[in-house]
Symmetry: C2
Subunit: 252 residues, 2 copies
Amino acid sequence: MEIISSKDNKKIKEARKLLTKKYRKNSYLIEGFHLLEEALKAGRSIKQIFVEENKLTKLTEMIGSEKLLTDLSVNLVSKEVLKSLADSESPQGLIAEVTKIEEVIDFSAAKFLLLENVQDPGNVGTMIRTADAAGFSAVILLGETADIYSPKVMRSMQGSNFHLPLVRMAKEDCFAQLKKAGISILTTTLSANSVSYKIINEPHFALIMGNEGAGVSDEAVKAADKLVHIDMPGQAESLNVAVAAGILMFSL
Amino acid sequence: MEIISSKDNKKIKEARKLLTKKYRKNSYLIEGFHLLEEALKAGRSIKQIFVEENKLTKLTEMIGSEKLLTDLSVNLVSKEVLKSLADSESPQGLIAEVTKIEEVIDFSAAKFLLLENVQDPGNVGTMIRTADAAGFSAVILLGETADIYSPKVMRSMQGSNFHLPLVRMAKEDCFAQLKKAGISILTTTLSANSVSYKIINEPHFALIMGNEGAGVSDEAVKAADKLVHIDMPGQAESLNVAVAAGILMFSL
């Protein structure tokens, strides 16, 4: 197999476009062996793989040479070419293009995390990873929440996107469907007219986390069955949104 | 007052050195009005302030013109000069140099957070902010934990460093003092021979969080009165360290 060593190679230029949101209509990139393994385990369709020559053996061992040759389109690339496709400093010598799938929400499930206008990709990814760890049913992305297919979100999810459905919905539609399904909407807020999370006892609920600076929207407050806060005995005025989400998801 | 508009100005060059750890022996930089306000509220000594001309009114209003003129050394600087002293994209037109103080740990207090070899500055800062919010007594920094005076840690602490003592100690000394004071050492781990955090009920404890990749050290395991884990009903293999710390600090 020939090694692609030019960043101007047509295939590389096409793949590099996937670092930009507007080109991620049908597929996206993942970095490293762990995410590729999770994608394969989840039965996702891999469009192609870019791998450095010295990592080909590791890839073959992971996938099996037969499957590798028949099912996956593998491109050998130079270190520089691989780096040009990567967002992180250490992509571990492997990047794969994964086909997007249409994910659906089962509104008869018990626990939902709703992210509304969460801007920081690290926060979005970390909260999805935490929702996965806490056994939540799905994560719904509302408003201006960062694109989950961006390399930074992908990295901080650590494969959780392959474990539970992540769906972008319009707010109105989402709130209407939750209400129809009898799921309590718990909106987090710092405001005084809210209850402590310690007294919440709902079997089915959707927890809304808001923007890092501005918090949740008026619509999210209006849609709430309960407004919830975390009691803070210390002097800090607020918590990082991903930490707050973690405390709530593991105690509700 | 003259406006310093050259990045090569001697004062600016000296101050810029504080962006590098080895020069932060006696002082460090903070960015923005909020942190300056917190530093002043805590009675910290401000060595000097760099401020853009269009923010001088805001500064005068915050501090009072009399105190500003007598107690604080204020330098007017151009936008470019201010940016050259900043680590963040938006330093809000103000950077201050704060004198370090010697902080002491009161080992008769109840709740301690110990950070051991935590590398990411954002994680270190977020955990200190969470410890503050949860009403912890102090944070102790062990091993290779990131320098708390770095601009990134400063930013993510959001002023919590002015609310509770942060002390760097040698591991052996720290563990010996905790044992002498009768404080239970709770070491977090993913290993099987640990107990769920839900059954922990200690009035006085020190919680040890470890490195993002490698977890806690053997010494921290050996020093533990109890090894603790967080039960994860979902599929994710682990939690972000700052999220895990948040869950533990708000439930223990």
